[in-house]
């Protein structure tokens, strides 16, 4: 198996040896990020590090809040959406990152 040791950028691009390599391949692509506390993001990945801190551009965030009616115990899901042009996301809140939707 090819390794990236001592190899140029060309080889670095091609090899996926560890999970973070997959994140590297998402650079400049639109990704989906699931966050703690029922938050979801989509946006273009511009930067990341080994903690999964990230910078995303043109971000759409969806926050889902579950509320329960005190009388009927009925569940209500409230969705709040917003867009943020450029966002730094702290890695400790990240649950999963999904590459651009496959065709």
């Amino acid at each position: 198996m090819a390794t990236s040791e001592g190899a140029g950028d060309h080889v670095q691009e091609a090899t996926v040896e560890e999970p973070l390599d997959l994140v590297r391949l998402c650079l400049d692509e639109k990704i989906y990020v699931k966050m703690r506390h029922d938050r979801e993001l989509t946006g273009t990945l511009f930067a990341y590090d080994q903690h999964l801190n990230m910078i995303l551009g043109d971000v759409h965030e969806t926050i889902t809040v579950t509320e329960v009616d005190s009388e009927t115990y009925e569940e209500m899901y409230k969705e709040t959406k917003r867009t943020i042009p450029m966002l730094f996301v702290r890695g400790d809140g990240v649950i999963l990152i999904s590459p651009p939707t496959r065709a």
Partner: protein
């Protein structure tokens, strides 16, 4: 150190820091450190009614670990430079993993005690 360098390049710019308790603070970035603790000047709290104790402070120090998001001024961010820096950083992280387990141990933790990689990421800068 990529994001540390990045935030250093944003010193003096206005940002919005969103904390994990849903408080949003708008202010001028004064300083940042390796843990991404930040100092903001002349802050304004959105939804100040919910946080009355913030009404009497102007300049603040925020612990990095309580930050959820930072809203950045898009025009100050050079995305090409960020991508290059991310690739460079990823490469470096790999090499240090092969030479020692420290980087692997630090990965995934919010605040590593030590950065073992050679620091070449200071070239990251916003335009």
């Amino acid at each position: 150190m990529l994001f540390y360098s990045f935030f250093k390049s944003l010193v003096g710019k206005e940002i919005v820091v969103e904390l994990k308790n849903d408080m949003s603070l708008h202010g001028t970035l004064d300083s940042v450190d390796q843990y991404l603790n930040m100092k903001l000047l002349d802050i304004a709290v959105t939804d100040a009614e919910k946080f009355p104790h913030m009404l009497a402070v102007k300049n603040i120090f925020i612990r990095g670990s309580v930050i959820r998001y930072v809203h950045l001024p898009a025009e100050e961010v050079d995305v090409q430079q960020l991508q290059d820096a991310s690739r460079r950083d990823a490469e470096q992280a790999k090499h240090s993993t092969k030479t020692g387990a420290a980087a692997a141990a630090a990965a995934g933790k919010g605040q590593p005690t030590k950065d073992t990689r050679p620091d070449q990421s200071d070239k990251v800068a916003a335009s």
